[in-house]
């Protein structure tokens, strides 16, 4: 009976109810959108990094630190004997890194040469075109970001100056065999990809490698001299830290949105208690306990949210569908920051568990803020209520 009464009161409240429902619906739509945005961004970044850089794991030279450019020149070490068959079988992709100066269109700029076997299939990098055809000009692959900063285009020939493993200057000519979209920003920015053997020859560093990308996770279970396994938690540590910061901002936004919505709910409920004091007196006179009267008002508040959920689903559907279908376009210029996952449109995936959790959170707050103004009812005598007296 109370439920039915609450429903009728809400419907009978007309535009006041409608405003509350709309406010709650907008809050729900924004929260679902934001939750989907963060979820989809995280998912995309993890997929991109895994497909383009991490594979099934990394075995990194103990001397190599990707965040310390001091280490780049001299961190390559010899391939361990025990991994030779895995390398030949393609389960491990050896990558050699070397800083270099490149001369695109007659300008000098620093770059990082990344040697990778042209027949690897662990990473999504399309490197089959890197197989050297002649001895004079080495084919290289660059990402769009690198192409933009170096102003290199497909077919351009440029010089590379490099120091070999003894510190001797060497130079070679390279031709851009392709410019591709590399979603993992760290594999694109300042990077020039070329065939591993070609780089080894120029560097006079036969069988040297900076790190291995694993095509099979079982290689993580063993110890190798000069190499250490980089677990996902370590590889993605920076990204997770950035996410944690974003989560704090997200939580503040949610708190603000919920606070604004709850002001509306609280205000409506407080006004309702004041305006409907004679109704409260009548209900009390008819034998309804104060607890049940409070429940009625609380249920009315919860009804707002339930209606808001339906309205939000209807109003938000085109928006949700659009972002799932066409993705969230990263604003121009953000790609240059090298933020993982910010290199291509983010197609929304809606995490139902997280969305239901958010809905339940808002439900709890709505129930609380619907109930709070009704506390006065517990102090009210039916006679005073019928006389229209509320403290």
């Amino acid at each position: 009976m109370i439920l039915r009464l609450a429903f009728r009161n809400i419907v009978g409240n007309g535009y006041r109810s409608l405003i509350n429902v709309l406010i709650l619906a907008i809050v729900l739509i924004i929260m679902v959108w934001m939750q989907a945005m963060y979820h989809s961004w995280t998912r995309l970044a993890l997929i991109q990094q895994t497909d383009w850089e991490y594979g099934k794991g990394l075995l990194r030279s103990k001397l190599y630190d990707p965040y310390d450019s001091y280490t780049w020149e001299d961190s390559a070490v010899r391939e361990p004997e025990q991994l030779k068959s895995a390398i030949q079988g393609g389960d491990l992709v050896p990558i050699l890194i070397s800083p270099a100066s490149i001369y695109p269109k007659g300008r000098m700029m620093p770059a990082v040469l990344r040697g990778i076997p042209h027949d690897q299939d662990v990473l999504r990098l399309p490197v089959s075109g890197l197989k050297a055809q002649g001895k004079d000009i080495i084919p290289v692959l660059i990402g769009q970001n690198m192409a933009q900063s170096s102003r290199l285009e497909k077919g351009d020939i440029f010089s590379i100056r490099i120091k070999d493993s003894s510190g001797v200057f060497n130079a070679l000519d390279a031709e851009v065999s392709d410019v591709i979209h590399i979603p993992a920003a760290s594999a694109d920015m300042s990077s020039v990809w070329l065939d591993l053997e070609a780089l080894r020859e120029v560097k006079a560093s036969e069988s040297l490698v900076t790190y291995f990308v694993m095509g099979d996770a079982r290689y993580a279970d063993h110890e190798y001299e000069n190499f250490r396994h980089i677990p996902k938690s370590e590889y993605f540590a920076d990204f997770y830290e950035m996410l944690a910061t974003e989560r704090v901002q997200q939580a503040i936004t949610y708190a603000l949105l919920i606070f604004l919505a709850m002001i509306a709910v609280f205000d409506t409920q407080a006004l309702a208690v004041f305006k409907r004091r004679k109704e409260i007196g009548t209900l009390a006179s008819l034998g309804l306990t104060k607890g049940k009267i409070s429940l009625l008002f609380t249920l009315e508040g919860i009804h707002y949210l339930l209606f808001a959920a339906i309205a939000g689903a209807i109003l938000g559907f085109p928006l949700f569908w659009y972002f799932a279908q066409y993705g969230f376009q990263i604003p121009k210029g953000y790609e240059d920051f090298g933020i993982q996952g910010f290199t291509e449109p983010i197609y929304f995936v809606y995490p139902m568990g997280e969305i239901i959790g958010l809905f339940l959170l808002v439900l709890c707050f709505t129930a609380l803020f619907s109930w709070l103004p009704t506390r006065k009812i517990t102090k009210l005598s039916p006679v005073d209520a019928l006389r229209g007296k509320v403290d």
Binding site: S69, P99, A100, S101, Y103, G106, M108, A111, A171, S190
Partner: protein, 245 residues
């Protein structure tokens, strides 16, 4: 008849051998001129890029090949920028951010103030006799000066430029022009020295043109306005503290 021809040949070659020192001697004499114990110089660096030229003034101190300190005096944008080289380490002080940065790793590949020299090039320490063996290719006249062309081959595997060609002034034993080659044989840099003056008993170039041959442009000129050699330089100049002073 054969004996007479041989005798003539020997007689002709005697004065030649007597006047042409060995390649190693030439390198030693060049080192005597070019390697100084200490120096203080005010210089202008003129970078001739593809579109325009720009000039920077600096005061530099050096102690052998190990220690060097440079402070840029002009233009206003670069004024106060300082560089300190200690052995294999290089620091740069940026007055606008009041920060000292150690130039390392990939940063060493960057150009110094847009010039034809990278920080890596600045770190090069070359003594002709320690790094190279030489052979005389031919005698030529270069820019009006009699010169030998020497081909230099590195004596060890860790010399940055394994092969060089140098045009050496026969009278002064100084390089007039040099070509620095990559291991692959590609010409990387050229060095042209001119306007030599004798300072403290050594011939020193007052004008040097560095040209990165892989880069477009007309190279970078170093013009030495004043130079003092073998002077006493306070040790504190070659300290990191002096960068922020």
């Amino acid at each position: 008849m054969k004996h007479i021809a041989l005798l003539i040949a020997i007689l002709i070659s005697i004065p030649l051998a007597a006047t042409t020192p060995s390649a190693d001697t030439i390198l030693q004499e060049m080192d005597k001129n070019m390697i100084t114990n200490s120096s203080k110089a005010t210089t202008r660096m003129v970078v001739h890029s593809r579109r325009a030229s720009r000039s920077m003034e600096a005061i530099s101190y050096s102690m052998g090949n190990e220690k060097a300190f440079t402070e840029y005096l002009a233009p206003p944008r670069e004024r106060g920028t300082k560089m300190l080289k200690l052995g294999n380490d290089l620091w740069i002080y940026d007055p606008s951010s009041d920060r000292t940065i150690q130039i390392s790793g990939n940063m060493l590949k960057q150009s110094v103030m847009g010039s034809d020299l990278s920080y890596e090039d600045m770190m090069e320490e070359t003594s002709y006799t320690e790094s190279y063996s030489a052979k005389i290719l031919e005698s030529v006249t270069y820019e009006g000066r009699e010169a030998w062309i020497l081909e230099l081959e590195a004596t060890s595997e860790n010399v940055s430029y394994q092969r060089r060609k140098t045009w050496v002034d026969k009278e002064r034993y100084v390089p007039l022009y040099e070509e620095w080659y990559a291991k692959s044989g590609k010409l990387l840099k050229t060095f042209t020295a001119s306007e030599y003056q004798k300072i403290s008993g050594r011939w020193q170039p007052m004008k040097i043109l560095f040209k990165d041959e892989l880069k477009e442009g007309k190279g970078t000129e170093y013009i030495i306005d004043s130079l003092e050699l073998d002077i006493r330089i306070p040790e504190h100049i070659f300290s990191r503290a002096s960068l922020r002073k």
